[in-house]
């Protein structure tokens, strides 16, 4: 039973990582850049929940909706202001800009809300028991929501016109343009979706801890980025798999008194091991030229 509980906890933590990792991987796939401000969009989502729930007192679902919309707007704005002017610039310039954007968001949050942790009044959902299995409702909700989101996203990419255009752009921007695909529009959509997923991740995190602080997105962001690379950056199923793997390893490491202090180290060493065996990640593809 203990094993099952840990597994479920790991899966729910992993789904949160997967939500974030999807943002990294989709943006990388489409815009070929690492958006290091992505983790801080989670924080923006967290503070939106704080304003909506604690300060305005709206229902948790409405607060989530606010967070999704606001994060999507922030994501798209960041892209337009900071990254779009650098299209075609050296990757290093883009990378530094993204790190700068991350710092900017964190500092803004500090100026506006202070650096202290703030409480968020979301419902404490308690837990459910099935037989001797005791699972928190937070775990159940996170798992169910993430499953629905991941399935919808996969279907969206595979079966809609815009989704296929995203695959086309991620493979070959010029060829996609020849087909009449507006690459800028697809990049905007991608940032909006990725940031909306970050809002969900922020919601799951707040549902667990009931508080927010300016650097709350930094560590989950880095772990989710690691997860995206483990799964194969650019690959959507890869991000899901990498995120889940990360969460499960984390949950099991934390239950062992010996390993618990080294949880982060263990998680990051998975990256090293995977990259030694498969340099492009578990589901990452190496593209071959065919003559």
């Amino acid at each position: 039973m203990k094993f099952l509980e840990t597994l479920l906890n790991g899966l729910s933590a992993g789904s949160t990582y997967a939500m974030i990792a999807l943002g990294y991987t989709m943006v990388y796939g489409i815009a070929k850049m690492l958006n290091f401000a992505h983790g801080d969009v989670i924080m923006v989502g967290g503070y939106t929940l704080f304003i909506a729930s604690t300060m305005m007192g709206v229902s948790p679902l409405l607060a989530l909706l606010f967070a999704i919309v606001f994060c999507a707007l922030i994501g798209v704005t960041i892209e337009k202001l900071a990254y779009k002017p650098l299209r075609g610039a050296s990757p290093l310039a883009v990378l530094i800009t993204a790190i700068g954007m991350s710092k900017l968001l964190q500092s803004l949050a500090q100026i506006v809300f202070g650096s202290a942790t703030q409480p968020v009044d979301l419902l404490d959902l308690g837990s459910v028991s099935i037989g001797s299995l005791n699972v928190s409702m937070y775990t159940v909700i996170t798992l169910l929501c993430s499953a629905v989101i991941m399935i919808s996203l996969s279907l969206f990419v595979k079966y809609t016109r815009t989704g296929r255009a995203m695959i086309a752009v991620s493979e070959d921007k010029s060829a996609a343009q020849l087909m009449g695909i507006n690459v800028n529009f697809i990049i905007t959509i991608t940032f909006a979706i990725g940031s909306a997923l970050a809002a969900f991740a922020g919601f799951f995190m707040v549902l667990k801890t009931f508080n927010v602080e300016p650097s709350m997105g930094a560590m989950p962001g880095i772990k989710a980025f690691t997860a995206a690379v483990i799964g194969g950056i650019g690959s959507i199923p890869g991000a899901m798999l990498g995120g889940i793997l990360m969460g499960v390893v984390e949950a099991f490491a934390q239950t062992s008194p010996v390993m618990a202090p080294y949880t982060d180290a263990i998680e990051f060493s998975i990256l090293i091991v995977i990259l030694l065996v498969r340099p492009s990640g578990i589901l990452g593809k190496k593209r071959r030229e065919k003559v």
Binding site: A176, Q177, L178, M179, E289, K290
Partner: protein, 236 residues
Amino acid sequence: MALLEVNNLEVYYGVICALKGISFEVNEGEIVALIGANGAGKTTMMQSVVGLIPKKGGTVTFDGRDITKTPGHKIVNLGMTQVPEGRRIFQELTVYENLMMGAYTKNDKKQFNDDLERMFELFPRLKERRNQIAGTLSGGEQQMLAMSRALMSNPKLLMLDEPSMGLAPILVDQIFDIIKELHKAGTTILLVEQNANKALQIADRAYVLETGKITFSGTGKELATSDEVRKAYLGG
């Protein structure tokens, strides 16, 4: 009036001048070939005409409309499309999905189905491989897919960039037969080729591009029999 008119087109890569003011035209119903050695600027010309790389100077007019500053993704709807060098099909998508991308800007379901049928008649191999992931096709099949993907938009002008590159001779013949067929069916064609022999055989008119400049032009026959062109491009 010419269908495509390129006037004094200049393209730079940084400080390097890749096209030094080239001018040419393609009239409706023609096959026009642009031949030249590796590095002459053929692909640069193709990409800049359809707005994939920026132009430094000059104008491009298509079908009476100035498209010099039109962004790349708006070109296909005007009736001009390109089969890019190296085919550039979407490897992760199926054959069918690639063809759907070719008709990305079209909304007419019936037209789509008719066009699909036409492509499958023209390239029966693609019909057999309809649901196969495009990256697993052979080189020849990929070229056929790239051509039919472009044709799904029903272009007035089809631009082909090195369609014979890397293909076995028998496939090259096949591709050229198809180009002739498309032309007979009313498509105007601009063909860029290193295989000058083949290109001049089917071209109404041709231009020779040398390090960013057009050095010769004339009918396909004239160029094929010109001493200079023969020496430089047709192996004596």
